[in-house]
Structure formats: structure tokens, C-alpha cells
Symmetry: C2
Subunit: 233 residues, 2 copies
């Protein structure tokens, strides 16, 4: 009944240069030495799962979880997923604003933000490709019915920046006028600061902070891909 190891792995997403990116770590020790993997590590003896995720986040990025958003994603425990033995990993998903270059963890040769659609020519270590894909899909879905897109933005941001988040994560263009109307009229989504941008070319944009809402009602649905009907997406 005993004898499992429990790990947390982090899908850390941010937007850099108009691309949805995930933080990957180049493994410095076996197994999968030299391969790229999600940051993560084993849960400590007296540590809660969420606390382990927060700790790993700080260790890998130097970030406080409050800057963005951190939630549990799913658990993965296929018997053969780790050659060292039976390891169950609890994956967490974080949405983060664009950061300075992350500090590499002590047990990793390198760390890098990689595009989520082609993280690396080689396959990722373990089942991390699957975990990453699940995290991206979760993020895409949650942008529809929560205001979590703001977690990708700095504390103060413009409507155009927020729209760019949606367009990047969904990979679809959105109408700037309809988007502006939607986000500014949905109660609790945005709080105007009264300030404006300056020094940019073009008309200054009003700055907003994230509001108190936790869900968007009605939701902001991503455009239907092909058919106007239901089915796969």
C-alpha cells in the first residue's frame, strides 16, 4: 500500500513575443538526462500538494504565486511513466505575466521559455508532452468563462493588451470593437485606473486592473472553428 513517490510538475504559461510559451527545464540528471521537461520535483514529507507547487514555482522562477494564477491541473500515474519506479505526479497550471528570464534550478542545466505548439524537436521527458497539452487546453477553455486572461498581463494593462492575450492563446483574431465592448461592460472584469499610457505612438490607451469577478457571465466564447454546430474542437 505504500511505496509511491509523489511529485508536482508545473505547466507555467506566459506570453512572449506574441507566442504562448511554457517554461521547460533541461534535465541535468537521469532519467532523461539532457532532455527537456516541465519543472517540478518531489513533494516533501510534511508538505501539502499546493504548497509543493508554490515552492517549485518559486524555486524555478523566483516568482510569487500571487503575481499570476496557480491551480491544480490533473494527476498522472501510469505505472511506466518514470523508470525510477512508481511516481504519481500532480500537475499544476500557472498563468504568468511576461517575466525576466527565469533562473535555472539547481538540478537543471538550462531553463527556457518555449512555444507550446512546438516545445522542442526532441520529445519531452516522461509524459510531459501530454501534461503540457492538457495545460494549454485548460488555459484555452478557462479564458472563455473566467477573467484569468488578466493573469497573463502586468498589474496594469490596456484593453488591446488583454485582447492580444486572447488572440495568442486561442490562435484566432478577435474584433477589437466587439472585444472592447464585451470586456468593459462585463461587471467585475476590469477596473479602470483612470491612468493612460503615454510615450507610445498613437492615441493613449486607458489602463485597467483586474476586477473582482471570478467567472464571466455570459462567457466570452472563442469563435467556432468550422461548423456552426457542436462536435469536436
Amino acid at each position: 500500500m505504500d511505496g509511491f513517490a509523489v511529485a508536482v510538475d508545473l505547466v507555467l504559461l506566459t506570453i512572449r513575443d506574441g507566442t504562448l510559451c511554457a517554461l521547460l527545464i533541461r534535465r541535468g540528471i537521469p532519467p532523461y538526462r539532457g532532455r527537456w521537461a516541465l519543472p517540478g520535483g518531489f513533494v516533501l514529507r510534511e508538505e501539502d500538494l499546493g504548497a509543493a507547487a508554490v515552492r517549485e514555482l518559486r524555486e524555478e522562477t523566483g516568482l510569487d504565486a500571487s503575481a499570476g494564477h496557480l491551480e491544480q491541473l490533473a494527476s498522472y500515474g501510469h505505472p511506466g511513466r518514470d523508470p525510477r519506479g512508481r511516481v504519481v505526479t500532480v500537475a499544476y497550471l500557472a498563468l504568468l505575466p511576461d517575466l525576466p528570464v527565469p533562473v535555472a534550478g539547481t538540478d537543471a542545466a538550462h531553463a527556457a521559455w518555449r512555444p507550446t505548439d512546438r516545445p522542442h524537436p526532441d520529445r519531452l521527458a516522461f509524459d510531459h508532452a501530454r501534461i503540457l497539452a492538457d495545460g494549454v487546453e485548460r488555459a484555452r477553455a478557462k479564458l472563455e468563462y473566467t477573467p484569468l486572461a488578466t493573469a497573463f498581463c502586468p498589474a496594469e494593462f490596456t484593453v488591446a493588451e488583454l485582447r492580444a492575450v486572447y488572440e495568442t492563446v486561442w490562435g484566432a483574431a478577435l474584433d477589437p470593437r466587439n472585444f472592447h465592448r464585451k470586456v468593459t461592460t462585463t461587471a467585475g472584469f476590469l477596473v479602470p485606473t483612470g491612468e493612460s499610457t503615454a510615450g507610445e505612438r498613437g492615441r493613449p490607451a486607458q489602463l485597467y486592473r483586474r476586477g473582482a469577478a471570478t467567472i464571466l457571465y455570459p462567457p466570452l466564447l472563442r469563435p467556432a472553428p468550422t461548423t456552426p454546430a457542436a462536435q469536436a474542437r
Copy 2:
């Protein structure tokens, strides 16, 4: 790094007598002997997490998972959640049609379907009250944007039965005419069998099977509780 036990616990939901119910097991062994708990057990040495959930489902209910719907819910691993030691549990959520009385597991004195809003006067064992609440909320949310309400129904069912599922899970009345229009015009939700009910009082109802759709687009949103705005729900 080793030394964790990994369990699966099941939130088995069904609708009985117009009430959303969960299957609870009266524990026959310590800890929490005599208290009610979610069905579950430890993951075997060479067993995948999902396979353990399917196995427990069969052991506790005699059910095949294909009759309803089974998905991973979340993992819970607070250090003090189990007095026997460090146990991480991966909770699974199942939506099941109304069943004959479940067979009690070998290590349990009793098993019973209990209303989810007041499972028992005593507190449930472990952190199972929280897990149950999370499962119910997940079910409520998924009825909005998936056709999973059909998992609560038998293989063939009427629109009125399906509507009763929504009304029970959401605890809100829905307009029969608008509901009928929505579910019958959403592609892939329902497949008419051509058959009708008979022997009931009143006009016979057409029978349907669940369709191939996996998501509902646009979703079938539950009525906003109070404010027409966003915020907590």
C-alpha cells in the same frame, strides 16, 4: 522521496427520486470506523490511476464505467488528511443512471445513496465532504457545456427526463418549451430512436439516445442566480 500511499476515491452521482445523490460507504474498519465515506481504495502496484477508479467502481457498484461517465476530478494530499500516514488521493467523478441498490464492498458495513446537499448528520470521514462538494460543483458546471446530463439517464430517455436531470442538478426550474427547443436543435446532442413511451398517462414521449457530441456549442447556461452580472456563483 518514497513512502506515500496513493488512493482513489469516487464521487458517484446519480439521481434518485428527484434528488442528486452520492454513494457513501459506512466504514467497517478504522480510521473513521462507523463513519460514512466516499467509496475508494488504494491504487495497486502496477495499476494506472484510471484503471484503479474503474476497478473500484466495479467493486462498489458492480457497474461498468461505460454505462455512465467517469473522469478524474482532482487530487487531495494534505499531510494530516489520513491518520494512517501520508496518503494522496486522486478523486474521480462518475455520473451514473439510476441503479439498483449498490452492493456493499467487502470492507464496509453498509452502502447507501445519500442526498448530496445533506449527506449525513455526522461529518464524513477524511476530507470527503470537500471532495464531494467539488464533485457536485464539477457536475453542475459540466452540464452547461457538455451533453453529460445524458449520463444520468438510461440508454433511452425522453426530453422530459433529461430536463428533470438538469433541474435536479442545478436546483432550478427550466422552461419545458425552451429546453425542448435547445436540446433538439443542438447538433449531436440527441439522436431520436423513432420509438415512443407507452403505458404512461398522458401523451407518449419520443425516445432519444445520447448523440456523438462532446461539447455543447453554444452552451446551455444555468440561469443566473441573482444579479444579471458576473461575480460569485
